[in-house]
Symmetry: C2
Subunit: 206 residues, 2 copies
């Protein structure tokens, strides 16, 4: 959007190539116009980009249907590990180094796997641990609504946004997974307590 | 879009409720603005609907993240069956009645499963067979670009659109699956031959 405004401001013609790049940026940044950063202006600009020659289906194909087959193999294996905690609100899933090797996976093949369990209405947050070495893991956290997983990530030296954060962790897999799931469930319960008016906090410590 | 135009034409105010329904229709009909039916006007109307009070993230949540957990369990099992044919261009996957029972699945839980393998660049079509009774199956076919799976479905008394069709079939699962995968691969090869200019046909028999 910023680039698009800039192009228009300097009076430059938006070529089809520029329009396609900007459209691709819009689609990826807004999660296909699903995220809360999708505004009236986002869609107005997207509409003008189509006028400038962009074919939405071609962009989608290039962004979302451009994976190697290894993504499907990896998804099958990672999805095989998905579980939910006792509360039924937090889902967790795993990716071992062996799964990567068996699938012949490349970087990016696992894009979005962490979001899959969030399709379930009752699941409010997800924890996705990837083995990167002996007892070392990369972790993605996701949440819905006011649940702040960035706060959880920060406690482990990670960071991110309220609904999407990441961190690195070392130790025993089962123990660390249980610890992270607990921490995320606390964040869920905290958000629920605030929503119910049971506790009152300043917005910045949410 | 038609409803929206009608509302504007009769001078009615588009209430937030109407705007939300129309936005939901736009999102589902265009596959989150990914399909080729996404036009300049689609996005312009969507933009105006946001102005009328629609929150895109809320609509997405209601449409795409509103499944029971059984969807995740069913996806795990169905994805466990995904394979591709020798050409590497056709993917196929299965859903048994047992999988439905084990997952406690309800109608709609399997929405979109057939599209998952199409995320792979090399996969040009997919065949998804669901057991509905003893030796009886419901089948979804999907394809990319000019590959016409509706023609395949019609041969079995089914129908649909070029890139999304369905049919019902009875018989031995393995045999019928192989038959359908072959038929779909023929459709792929036919589209490729036409694209390469090796054969010429009138558009209506594509």
């Amino acid at each position: 959007e910023m680039i698009y405004n800039l192009c228009k401001a300097i009076g430059g013609r938006v070529t089809k190539e520029i329009a396609e790049c900007v459209y691709m940026a819009l689609v990826t940044d807004t999660g296909s116009f699903h995220f809360s950063n999708t505004t009236e202006r986002t869609l107005k600009v997207a509409s003008e980009l189509i006028k400038a020659g962009v074919k939405p289906a071609d962009i989608s194909e290039a962004v979302y249907n451009n994976y190697p087959w290894s993504r499907i193999e990896l998804m099958r294996q990672v999805l095989g590990t998905v579980r939910r905690d006792d509360s039924g609100k937090v889902a967790y899933l795993r990716q071992t180094l062996n799964m990567r090797h068996a699938a012949g996976a490349v970087d990016g093949d696992n894009n979005g796997f962490v979001n899959i369990p969030l399709a379930a209405r009752a699941i409010l947050a997800a924890v996705y641990m990837r083995e990167v070495g002996d007892g070392r893991f990369r972790v993605s956290l996701r949440s819905k609504g006011d649940i702040n997983v960035a706060k959880v990530a920060e406690r482990y030296g990670g960071g991110g946004h309220r609904n999407a954060a990441g961190l690195q962790i070392e130790g025993d897999w089962d123990a660390k997974e249980a610890e992270l799931v607990d921490a995320v469930r606390d964040a869920v319960e905290r958000a629920e307590a605030i929503a119910a008016g049971d506790i009152t906090v300043a917005p910045d410590v949410l």
